[in-house]
């Protein structure tokens, strides 16, 4: 820097931290493992993600403290830096730094059992209300090829859809990191059909991202292959299992013999050191035996049972096995009862209209559409779509500016929840519900975006 510029810089006002991402991972020998990602937004505010699951929203000052915490600064170093950049006494800066560090560590170490809203009396904001510059999670649909042929599959693209090369996918991963997205899931189609999956997982982990895999599990019965993925750093795995009944599962995935391979895959993963869960799509084809399916999942040693209802996209639009939202409550009561009986953790995914199915009332958690907000999806050719099931391209992540993708009219339409129906406008549950799933609504006579 030229001398004059340097002198000039001494007199320029300090500015908030530049946008970017900070990453912290506990040392391998730490008694409790966790990862922290801090995304600094353009205005200096921050989003701190703990294990890519717990999200804290920070004001500018807290963001600056958190960045120093994640960089491992000692208290005296942090206090010096804060007092240099802010009009604050050292005593205040020190008290705030230590208090914030204690709080963040407390939340990170508490794990899932301690909810910060409930127990730590952290200030709260309304669910699904955060204003972001990029999602928390990006799903990478590496390919639309798949060994299964589910008649209810939501993929709305041909199987020979163009695919990016390994190098291009690495660029996508780099781009996600630059945007401050801390969490990737590899999906498809069937992501394990890509021979470079292990390489991409390793690359993403080396960059600092948390990675997951959504799969039919058939390739994972190969323990050596699974070990490769885990050594590459894969953090979590979700395997789709439609039924305990081999015939039902095979019918639902359209391939005889698939059930055996999937169950073998589940058994292999359960025995490995990785967070895993299964997921089941509740349809008229498998719901009668759902208790038995849950019992079966538990018998395999799976800790968490996930389920959702039919996603009205791709082939699923015409499959005819969907269950209306208004009919789901008694089914979910059965699911709750069965998972509780087998000591399984239950995760329900589907956003519904709360007047039809109220997930908060049923203690299933807040479920609202998070497409183009908390999560998005990159298609095999690099196009970004609002979520894995909403097949309208907002732009290409490698060739289009991110702002154009994020601020695309459809993305804004979804974030603004313009797909809500008239009956929602004065509904007290509007904030949490947000009108349910736009794809379900479109299929059942609700509004369709004219974008």
């Amino acid at each position: 820097m030229p001398f004059l510029d340097r002198v000039k810089s001494w007199f320029e006002p300090h500015r908030p931290l530049a946008p970017g991402i900070y990453h912290y991972q506990t040392p391998p020998d730490a008694p409790q493992q966790f990862r922290l990602h801090l995304r600094v937004e353009k205005d200096g505010r921050g989003v701190l993600l703990i294990n890519a699951a717990r999200v804290l929203h920070l004001n500018q000052t807290a963001t600056e403290h958190a960045a120093l915490i994640l960089q491992g600064k000692r208290t005296d170093e942090a206090v010096h830096e804060i007092a240099r950049r802010y009009n604050v006494s050292r005593a205040t800066a020190q008290a705030d730094f230590e208090s914030l560090r204690e709080t963040i560590w407390q939340i990170a170490q508490a794990g899932e059992e301690v909810c910060p809203v409930t127990y730590l009396e952290i200030e709260r904001i309304e669910p699904l209300s955060a204003e972001l510059s990029a999602p928390y999670r990006m799903d990478l649909a590496l390919t639309y090829r798949c060994q299964n042929d589910c008649p209810h599959c939501y993929v709305g693209r041909p199987r020979d859809f163009p695919e990016l090369s390994t190098g291009q996918w690495k660029q996508v991963i780099d781009r996600c990191w630059e945007l401050g997205i801390p969490h990737l899931t590899f999906t498809g189609g069937e992501a394990t059909l890509r021979p470079d999956l292990v390489e991409l997982v390793r690359y993403a982990e080396d960059v600092g991202l948390v990675t997951g895999l959504q799969t039919n599990g058939r390739r994972l019965r190969d323990r050596a292959y699974l070990d490769e993925l885990l050594l590459a750093g894969l953090d979590h795995i979700q395997i789709t299992l439609e039924s305990h009944d081999e015939a039902v599962h095979d019918r639902m995935v359209g391939v005889p013999g698939a059930w055996r391979e999937t169950v073998e895959g589940i058994k292999t993963v359960v025995n490995a050191d990785v967070y895993m869960m299964t997921n089941t799509t509740l349809t008229t084809a498998n719901v009668d035996g759902i208790e038995e399916t849950i019992a079966f999942v538990a018998s395999l040693g799976v800790p968490t049972f996930g389920c959702n209802s039919l996603i009205y996209s791709g082939a699923a639009v015409a499959v005819g096995t969907g269950i209306r939202e208004s009919e789901l409550a008694p089914i979910l009561e059965r699911v709750k009862e069965a998972t509780a009986r087998h000591h399984l953790r239950l995760i329900w995914y589907t956003p519904t209209q709360y007047c039809e199915l109220d997930p908060v009332g049923m203690e299933l958690g807040v479920k609202g559409c998070t497409a183009a907000h908390y999560n998005m999806c990159v298609e095999p050719n690099g196009d970004v779509i609002p979520c894995q099931s909403y097949y309208v391209a907002l732009g290409n992540i490698l060739t289009d500016p991110w702002e154009a993708i994020w601020e695309h009219e459809l993305a804004r339409y979804l974030r603004r929840r313009d797909f809500m129906m008239e009956k929602c406008y004065h509904c007290p549950d509007q904030i949490l519900c947000g009108g349910g799933c736009p794809l379900y609504n479109q299929h059942h006579g609700g509004p369709t975006p004219t974008i």
């Binding site: 006002p13 500015r15 991972q25 506990t26 409790q32 493992q33 205005d43 294990n51 890519a52 699951a53 999200v55 804290l56 929203h57 920070l58 500018q60 000052t61 802010y86 604050v88 705030d96 208090s99 204690e102 963040i104 170490q109 909810c115 910060p116 809203v117 409930t118 009396e121 952290i122 200030e123 709260r124 904001i125 669910p127 699904l128 999670r137 799903d139 209810h152 939501y154 969490h183 948390v210 979590h236 979700q238 789709t240 967070y275 869960m277 799509t281 996930g306 996603i311 239950l346 995760i347 329900w348 908060v360 958690g365 807040v366 609202g368 998070t370 497409a371 999560n375 979520c387 949490l432």
Partner: protein, 547 residues
């Protein structure tokens, strides 16, 4: 924890509408029945504050002839203030000598006499009330505390209603409330309105409400910034520092300038704040679950369950000492029992006594269930919500107009009113001078009353029981009734377990064990899926599962 709470408590830029206690004189005594205030936030940054204060002057007290109303700051102009009572304009207005800043309104011939109730209407325009939001550079923030009165003068509950009318153009989804979630939101004259209502507020307490909204709806330059410091020139010039600055050496001047320059470069420091997405109040808890949440003593919780089952006609109490109960067998069809009620029934031994080990297991599970239900919900807000329900349950009882209705409402709301920490005292106050028809279920608790207690003085009247069989219910003088139920419930609470301290210790050893680290994995991010969160308050990204 205290430090953290304090920290968070100051994270939102304070733009308090500071008001001070009002009203003078020693024998004023009144109930502020309603304090309704509307704040109209205007494009030019002014805020029109419109109060409707309903006073009920106590019989025998000094007439309310002047009212001092606090205002947020001294930017108001006396000439702009409008006041009226019963539609009659009041013109004798002055700066209050007691409330600063504030205005004194002389009621003159419209003074509110002893035993009378009337509403004072007052409007004022204040400026410099809207500040920069600490969380969002694009937002402006307003916090406001409605006027309150000295506790020497005001008593009883106040219905407090605060309305923020956001500037024209603000859309429904744009405003953000601060700590206290609004009670209702709507539109009025094309403006978004947030309304906070507290039915049982205290007229002598300060309540703060706040909200933020995009500052683009305000004229440029009207949003206030928190001053970094206040320069008091008068004080400065009278100090030696002034002379030093004037006559001091050049090096000192340069050093100060350098320091000043560095300080100028620095950014404004706001207290760090963390926020988590979460839901507010967990609705739908039963009174028993609410009692657990409110950390009521466990014998009280068990007594609530006992009386809930008595009310449902599922058990009768056969003796008090030792406490022996009898459950109907088989259970009647169509009666819904909560899981803890089932467990309570299972804790009844063969001789009718309660088996403490089983009660303890029930209590442990009940506490666990409540904690699980609260996951993701704000515990503090939920506690306030259920305290409010308890207060409203009492109000419903108090409002009953006939002995029959009084007994009926008391019975229906018993578990909710029992959330009141002063349940016994409240019961005695409510019933001390009112006759009451004893609800039929109460005799499920006192089938042995003839042997152990004074016979009530009945005024028999036929009343259908739950099963449709006519029974004769007595009307008791309220004081007798209060004594009966208070002592009955106290006895039950004292005997439901043999040693409540030991019982509680053994329960809490299980529910509040010494902290243990959660299960750890040698892999990082062991549960690192944003979807892998069923916590009610955490916004889960819609999964990608589902194929």
């Amino acid at each position: 924890m205290c430090k953290r709470s304090a920290l968070i408590g100051t994270t939102i830029l304070i733009v308090l509408a500071l008001v001070a206690p009002a009203v003078q004189a020693q024998d004023y005594r009144f109930n502020l029945k309603e304090n309704r205030v509307h704040l109209y936030i205007n494009h030019d940054g002014t805020v029109r504050i419109v109060y409707d204060l309903t006073f009920a002057c106590d019989p025998g007290a000094h007439p309310i002839d002047v009212v001092d109303v606090g205002l947020p700051n001294n930017t108001y102009r006396l000439g702009e203030i409008r006041a009226s009572i019963a539609g009659v304009p009041l013109t004798d207005l002055s700066d209050s000598p007691y409330v600063k800043p504030g205005v004194a309104v002389e009621l003159g011939s419209h003074a509110i006499g002893p035993g009378q109730t009337d509403t004072l209407h007052i409007e004022a325009i204040v400026r410099d009330l809207i500040y920069q939001d600490s969380q969002d550079a694009e937002y402006a923030s307003l916090e406001f505390a409605p006027t309150w009165f000295d506790s020497d003068f005001v008593h009883g509950p106040t219905r407090l209603e605060v309305n923020f009318h956001f500037p024209p153009g603000v859309t429904a989804e744009e405003p953000r409330y601060h700590k206290q979630e609004f009670t209702a939101a709507g539109f009025e004259d094309d403006r978004v309105v947030y309304t906070w209502i507290k039915e049982d507020a205290s007229g002598s307490q300060k309540y703060v409400y706040g909200a933020s909204f995009p500052k683009k709806y305000l004229a440029e330059g009207v949003v206030q910034k928190v001053p970094a410091f206040n320069l008091n020139l008068e004080a400065l010039c009278s100090s030696p520092l002034c002379w030093f600055l004037l006559f001091g050496g050049g090096w000192a001047f340069l050093a100060i300038m350098g320091s000043w320059s560095q300080k100028r470069r620095k950014m404004q420091y706001l207290p760090p704040s963390l926020a988590v997405e979460g839901t507010g109040v967990k609705r739908g808890l039963t009174a028993v679950e609410a009692a657990v949440l409110l950390e009521a003593p466990l014998n009280k919780v068990l007594t609530m369950i006992l009386f809930g089952l008595v009310k449902k006609g599922i058990i009768t109490v056969e003796s008090e000492k030792p406490l022996r109960v009898r459950a109907v067998d088989p259970l009647p069809q169509g009666i819904r029992l909560w899981p803890y009620e089932h467990r309570f029934l299972q804790a009844i031994g063969d001789n009718g006594e309660l088996v403490e080990g089983k009660l303890r297991e029930m209590a442990v599970d009940l506490i666990g269930d409540v904690n699980k239900k609260l996951t993701g919900f704000n515990r503090k807000e939920t506690r306030e919500y259920y305290k409010d329900i308890a207060a409203r349950a009492w109000q419903q009882v108090e409002a009953a107009g006939t002995p029959e209705l009084l007994g009926q409402r008391w019975g229906e709301g018993l578990e909710w009113t029992m959330l009141d920490e002063d349940w016994e005292g409240h019961t005695r106050r409510v019933f001390h001078d009112r006759p009451v028809v004893v609800p039929s279920w109460w005799w499920g608790y006192r089938p042995w009353a003839d042997q152990v207690g004074p016979a009530p003085a009945p005024a028999p009247r036929p009343t259908p029981s739950g099963a449709g069989v006519p029974v004769t219910l007595p009307t008791l003088p309220g004081a007798n009734f209060a004594n009966t139920v208070v002592s009955g419930i106290e006895r039950a609470a004292n005997r439901v377990v043999s040693n409540i301290e030991s019982f509680t210790d053994r329960v809490t050893q299980t529910t509040n064990p010494p902290p243990k680290p959660s299960s750890s994995s040698s892999r990082s991010g062991g549960y690192s899926c944003a979807c892998a969160c069923a916590c009610a308050g955490c916004a889960c990204a819609c999964a990608g599962g589902g194929r």
